[in-house]
Symmetry: C2
Subunit: 302 residues, 2 copies
């Protein structure tokens, strides 16, 4: 289950992994990451087992799974073929929330003093590979708490490293992490939202763009966006259904939304008034031709 689980609040404590398992908050009894490449990461446990981890409260630099011996030393490189690591890549690509449990350990002022604690939903905003402390390649995932998630009470009264660093959030702090915040004026240029409807369409097309047929491949996965044909909300009031959604690469999505691309009644793609070829289709993906026509009408040249 992705996202919040029933009957569990942020801050709720669990004496043991088994109790967290029974609550459905983190289902594996031992593994630190719950999820697969296909399903994305439902939840992770942060408990100091990986010495390359960094914890800033609302930002966690989380080391991937694998390559450790029984003493906790890294003895080989990590891989994105690892199921848990691949799951976190999917969460990054799809923008899905990940439940975070912190476990007691001395390495972080944000960890609970004993047992485990559910600290809310985080999203994976970044990932990459680096040479870890022990000299092997590790994967790391930057986790950021959702806006509004309350910070836990830190257990140590020392100067904490700046939460969030100098992220381009509009309330930024300077890169050195000092106290005087420099207001970085940012605006949101583009927001891409996901949903169950869009994920279904992207699954049918395996992230391949129906207009230009490319698939964006990145380490650990591939990326595409669900795009409504007839826009939702006033004045177009398109339905939020798979028949009104296409699987597109980001470039074609921008062009469809702003009318650089329209689609004809026989599903031919038209770019700048010139026919480009057929929209790719999938047997289970029925497309609503009323939506296609409404969208095309919005961009009439005559």
């Amino acid at each position: 289950m992705i996202g919040e689980v029933p009957n569990t609040e942020v801050g709720q404590e669990f004496v043991s992994r088994r109790l967290a398992h029974e609550a459905g908050v983190h289902r594996p009894l031992q593994a630190g990451i719950c999820g697969t490449k296909v399903s994305a990461a439902e939840s992770i446990v942060v408990s100091g087992g990986y010495k390359d981890d960094e914890d800033y409260g609302d930002v966690i630099i989380y080391t991937g799974h694998g390559g450790r011996d029984s003493s906790g030393n890294q003895v080989s490189d990590q891989s994105l073929d690892d199921s848990g690591n691949a799951a976190l890549v999917t969460s990054y690509l799809e923008g899905l929330p990940v439940r975070v449990l912190r476990g007691a350990h001395s390495g972080s002022p944000w960890a609970p003093t004993r047992g485990y604690r559910y600290d809310g939903l985080f999203r994976v905003t970044n990932y990459g590979r680096k040479l870890g402390i022990d000299g092997f390649l590790i994967w790391q995932f930057r986790m950021e708490a959702y806006d509004g998630t309350p910070l836990p009470e830190p257990t140590q009264q020392e100067t904490l490293p700046a939460a969030r660093g100098s992220v381009d959030t509009g309330s930024g702090q300077s890169p050195s992490g000092n106290e005087s915040p420099e207001r970085v004026t940012t605006t949101v240029q583009r927001i891409v939202r996901n949903s169950a409807v869009k994920r279904q369409v992207k699954t049918w097309h395996d992230n391949r763009c129906q207009i230009c047929h490319m698939r964006i491949e990145v380490p650990g996965g591939s990326y595409s966006e669900g795009a409504h044909i007839q826009a939702l909300g006033s004045p177009h009031n398109g339905p939020d259904t798979t028949s009104n959604v296409l699987c597109l690469c980001p470039n074609c999505h921008v062009m469809l939304d702003a009318g650089a691309i329209v689609i004809s009644n026989d599903l031919t793609v038209i770019l700048g008034g010139v026919e480009q070829g057929a929209l790719s289709t999938h047997p289970r993906h029925v497309i609503d031709m009323d939506c296609v026509r409404q969208h095309r009408e919005r961009w009439r040249q005559d």
Copy 2:
């Protein structure tokens, strides 16, 4: 000036256009849109002059400028070459806020009863062309109030059309606008933020992608994204400077962020380990090679 102006609060009233001009809230004395294609739209006045307008409080369907006679009838098609209309397209493409003033008129329960009122910042979320009531083509822009902007007090006690319609916001109402909200579960898959630093880099490159050299053209403008090379915030702590930003198309931006593309020390683009050609440059755009190297190190294959 884009965004809020000093000494003016949401809800502030102005007896006349001249007083709004003097406050800097809406600088033209007659025109409904303030702005140009290059500068984007600073502000608009919504006062019932265009019969195709629709007002839902936190969503306004705003008709573009042009093609009307002195009686207010549409007598010719509107064009995106019109400076004000082009300005709103730029605001859409760049994600910039637009100040909205409502003027008194009987056609909207959200309008003030007299004079003008500053109703806060809106963003352009959509635009398109349609056949207006008078039978000519008009451009319309969907304006959405920023989260947290207070709704004005409506002047009529009647059933108001549903604000926001069935937009994919996570708190959606059904498309017919009835009272029982259907919770649409959405997540943010991707957020692209803009900033003065990014806009500078995009201006230097005229929205042409430095990696693949394409420029996305849409009616009224072109689109690109500013992409940090070395990620901001922990753990990479890249600087928020033009030397750490590239002008990219959305596809190349996704690939750069997720390591499908890296850049060599001589500014060669490397995709999937294969050299693709040179990154395009601009004489005023100095690129920080430390940032390029740090980014490349994140995605080492060995």
